[in-house]
């Protein structure tokens, strides 16, 4: 057993006078019903956030949570209960409640076996301790100063800093016995600028699974500059066009397109249930041959990365679309088992009080060969969108949206006037068939993504090179 696993299990179990034999006994008591799989998920987290406004750090909060979620699977049925108390009677009660999903039945033995050679995808130090409180405040003041320096018309700066330190321990009837320690930090800055009686706002953020040290001065300068730039561009924006046209998406964060248009539709649960527009389409063409898309939780230190997922499965890189052909779905254990597949390490949950589901990690499109300039040049009349807010998808009809936060007209191969924020809408299963050029400038986002599904939020990453989509509906007013 690795030292981390020993330490983590002691930390969860010792206080309540438990040891790993109690875990085995509890799992076995669940398996005495007609249960295919029983699991206990221990989680503790410490979270802090600091917020600056009016030039002062006026608001800050700290939260600390701990608990255990107990799950029983029988066929496609799930029983679930959880407790904030990690003591034997509470475990037994939750175990008894979750196993009621199935009738009493056979006996079975559980033997826990730690995986060997778990690869850490991030440092294990507590980011909350990586800076003193005074140093945390100085990051926020620096963002305030940099934004105001960038343009004297900046009226208000709102800057925030947050850090999470999470520990998990998973043990299950399939022998899983694994732990993970996950840091996560993030800085955001929003500026409000007044100019000629008009007001606009711009935002930028960055972070990852690391200590606060990644928020170095160079990065803070970049964030402040980006936020101010976005606000200034929008102050001069004219009405966005309405209707179908070629759209060039910038590299990096605009890959929220991939997340919405195809990512969610390729999550195993929807496909097992036949509720996704991508159900039963493995092996079919769903994108142009220029598109290869992966979900990769193994990238060092990224916001969406995981050493192991929340079911103890090591994270991996899963090819979703290869040269335009749909090659795979993302699975957790339950959906993998019911679809006779293997988990792809995508079983994630917001906390011990939520059930795990197939979720994305870092989803990105591999680089192509086109130069960004050539992509822009190829468009006679269209839209260039280098930055976005969020998006949303209806996985059943396949329709998805995402909204620009910075966009420009392209006229005769040149980027011209900035346009106001507009929502773009498309159909997931065919939007990528309209990708006609893929840039050589693949970039991952800055590390600010939050994905919501069935009420649960998890951190994710996205990435792509500059892309040209020949036809997409742009929801402007003009």
């Amino acid at each position: 057993m690795s030292q981390t696993l020993i330490n983590t299990s002691n930390e969860f179990l010792a206080e309540g006078g438990l040891d790993s034999s109690d875990l085995v006994t509890t799992l076995e008591s669940m398996m005495s019903h007609q249960i295919d799989f029983a699991e206990m998920y221990f989680q503790s987290s410490r979270h802090e956030s600091w917020m600056l406004e009016d030039g002062i750090v006026k608001d800050a909060s700290f939260s600390s949570d701990k608990g255990v979620g107990i799950r029983a699977l029988s066929g496609d049925k799930t029983g679930f209960a959880y407790s904030e108390e990690i003591i034997l009677p509470a475990l037994q009660q939750a175990a008894n409640a979750s196993r009621t999903i199935a009738l009493a039945g056979s006996q079975s033995m559980v033997k826990l076996s730690p995986i060997s050679g778990q690869i850490a995808r991030y440092a294990q130090d507590d980011p909350l301790m990586s800076l003193t409180e005074a140093e945390k405040l100085s990051i926020l003041h620096r963002l305030d100063q940099l934004a105001r320096q960038a343009d004297p018309r900046v009226r208000e700066v709102i800057a925030s800093l947050s850090g999470v330190y999470e520990k998990i321990l998973v043990c299950a009837s399939d022998g899983t016995f694994a732990s993970d320690i996950r840091p996560l930090v993030r800085a955001n800055v929003t500026v409000i600028i007044d100019k000629n009686g008009k007001t606009e706002r711009g935002s930028a953020g960055a972070g990852g699974r690391d200590s606060y040290q990644i928020l170095n001065d160079e990065l803070l300068q970049q964030l402040a500059k980006e936020a101010v730039h976005q606000a200034l561009v929008n102050l001069d924006a004219i009405a966005a066009p309405a209707g179908q046209m070629p759209v060039v998406l910038g590299s990096g964060w605009p890959a929220v397109l991939l997340h919405e248009a195809i990512g969610h539709g390729l999550e195993g649960d929807f496909n097992r249930k036949g509720s996704s527009a991508f159900s039963d389409r493995i092996g079919q063409r769903v994108a142009s041959p220029l598109c290869t898309i992966v979900d990769d939780g193994t990238i060092q230190g990224r916001r969406g990365s995981l050493s192991i997922d929340d079911e103890g499965t090591p994270s991996q890189s899963t090819t979703l679309i290869e040269n335009g052909i749909l090659t795979g779905y993302m699975h957790d254990k339950k959906n993998a088992r019911l679809m006779q597949q293997k988990s792809t390490g995508n079983g994630r949950r917001e906390s011990y009080s939520c059930l795990p589901m197939p979720r994305m990690t870092n989803t990105y499109m591999l680089a192509g060969e086109a130069e960004k300039e050539d992509i822009i040049k190829s468009v006679k009349k269209g839209l260039y969108a280098p930055n976005f807010g969020g998006g949303q998808v209806d996985i059943t009809s396949g329709k998805f949206v995402f909204s620009t936060s910075e966009a420009y007209l392209i006229e005769d191969g040149k980027i011209t006037a900035p346009v106001k924020g507009a929502t773009l809408i498309g159909n997931g299963p065919d939007v990528l068939t309209k990708v006609s050029m893929v840039g050589n400038d693949m970039a991952l986002d800055n590390g600010v993504g939050i994905c919501g599904k069935a009420g649960q939020s998890v951190p994710v990453g996205v990435g792509q090179p500059t892309l040209k989509i020949d036809e997409l509906t742009v929801g402007g007013t003009n």
Binding site: S61, D65, K77, F80, A97, S275, K399, I425
Partner: protein, 456 residues
């Protein structure tokens, strides 16, 4: 703090008096502890939620979930410096840890002249029983039966229903306790029960999904499983044979669920935070006309069994029945004590939001509204954010029904609707009397003049 869980007992068993006594004692001690450690002001909120959710899918149980969520939050002030800590662990040790953490944070934040509890003389004194607590005594088996029955009505409604995303019954009971160092304290037990159904239909053009749900404080307020299942099926089938329409300008009719989203945008635009940050398209709207004459919005905090009823807001201020909008004129911003101080105004008891909002209507049924629109788009669903709160610019994904000559023609998808909220509000043509009672925001459909629709 643990309670027995077993399959036969009801999921909402909670000894309210015992819980309240415990919260009163513990939170009182914690306030004293924080003050002893130097806090000049303290507020504590704690909540405990128990319940169960049962989901069935394709006539079999899918998930049985026992929920029990605790939360504790404390805010301390050291003069004008503020610190907040929260935890889900209600052990005495963890609660003391949270107080220490909040105090530690407050030592590092900077003095904000506007910070602090709401003023003591404004604390609510008139406690009321608003009849919010109606445990159903439901157990896993009866919840399962309710969900199965509901889904069956949906699945059996038509052979066009090809699949199910499931039906869920959930029943939750909550006790919330709030106290602060002015001596204000209040405990509110409440329940929430809901039943929902999500179905899928399919034709040669692809799959469509839609849903219906019912929610209520008490069992009697719920629609039956038959109503929920059949409405879900009707709505899902209506989406078949979907088309895109051409890019054009057309009148738009927002059904009540979508009209609520517009009112949500309005509430955000007049919220204290957006006003003091001068980041709202309604900055100068106070006492001016934003909507046509026939639009009024009345806040009604004291409705018995109301989904957002309360006699005190989240900082202990007395709530009041008040007109937010009267004859098209905005009567008040939505201010808590902090934003009120920032604006040099009086707080309006809106810490935590508006407590039930009732919108006036033009005495027209939905059918009459459709006739009045004559040609245009009924919006039944919207997607994405796409709202700029500073400028009011509005651009969202939408789907709904195309109307010609006052008759619904076909389902429309993959379009966007765009405009500017300020203009949309100013030019509302009519509001229906087809109230959707499943929300604390009670409104009928809204008919708006032409918006830009982007499609093919």
């Amino acid at each position: 703090m643990s309670q027995e869980i077993n399959q036969t007992s009801s999921a909402d068993q909670m000894d309210i008096k015992k819980e309240v006594d415990f919260f009163e004692q513990t939170c009182g001690d914690l306030v004293d502890y924080a003050k002893k450690k130097g806090a000049s002001q303290v507020e504590v909120g704690v909540s405990k939620d128990i319940g169960l959710s049962v989901s069935v899918r394709n006539r079999e149980i899918e998930t049985l979930e026992y929920n029990r969520d605790n939360s504790f939050g404390i805010t301390v002030y050291l003069g004008k410096q503020k610190g907040i800590a929260t935890t889900s662990d209600l052990s005495i040790k963890a609660l003391h840890g949270a107080v220490d953490a909040a105090l530690n944070i407050a030592k590092h934040t900077q003095a904000d002249p506007c910070s602090g509890l709401a003023d003591a003389e404004l604390m609510a004194t008139n406690s009321m029983d608003l009849e919010l607590d109606h445990p159903m005594g439901i157990n896993a088996e009866t919840a399962k039966q309710q969900a199965l029955e509901c889904e069956a009505y949906g699945l059996d409604f038509s052979d066009k229903i090809s699949n199910s995303e499931g039906s869920s019954f959930s029943s939750h009971r909550n006790i919330r306790f709030y106290t602060n160092s002015h001596g204000f304290k209040a405990a509110t037990p409440s329940t929430r029960h809901s039943l929902s159904c999500v179905l899928i239909a399919e034709d040669h053009l692809g799959k469509q999904r839609d849903h219906w749900y019912t929610i209520s404080r008490d069992a009697d307020g719920l629609e039956t499983g038959k109503v929920v299942g059949e409405k879900a099926a009707e709505k899902t089938i209506a989406r078949l044979n979907a088309r895109q329409i051409k890019t054009q300008k057309a009148k738009v009719l927002f059904i009540p669920e979508m009209a609520r989203s517009l009112i949500g945008n309005f509430k955000a635009a007049i919220s204290g935070t957006n006003i003091y940050r001068k980041s709202s398209f309604l900055l100068d709207c106070l006492n001016s006309k934003i909507f046509p004459d026939f639009v009024s919005m009345q806040e009604k905090p004291f409705i018995k069994k109301g989904l957002a009823s309360t006699w005190y807001d989240n900082e202990g201020l007395a709530t009041k029945e008040q007109a937010i909008v009267q004859d098209g004129i905005v009567n008040t911003f939505l201010l808590n004590s902090y934003s009120a101080r920032k604006l040099n105004m009086q707080p309006t008891s809106h810490c935590g939001g508006v407590h039930n909002l009732h919108v006036s209507n033009s005495d027209l049924s939905f059918e009459q509204m459709v006739k009045q629109m004559n040609n245009g788009l009924i919006v039944t669903e919207m997607m994405g954010q796409g709202v700029n709160m500073i400028t009011g610019d509005y651009s969202r994904g939408a789907s709904g029904f195309w109307v010609e000559n006052g008759e619904i023609q076909f389902f429309v998808q993959e379009i966007t609707i765009a405009g500017n909220l300020k203009e949309m509000f100013a030019n509302v043509i009519a509001i229906g009397n087809d109230y959707d009672r499943r929300s604390s925001l009670l409104t009928g459909s809204w008919l708006l003049p032409e918006m830009m629709i982007a499609g093919s």
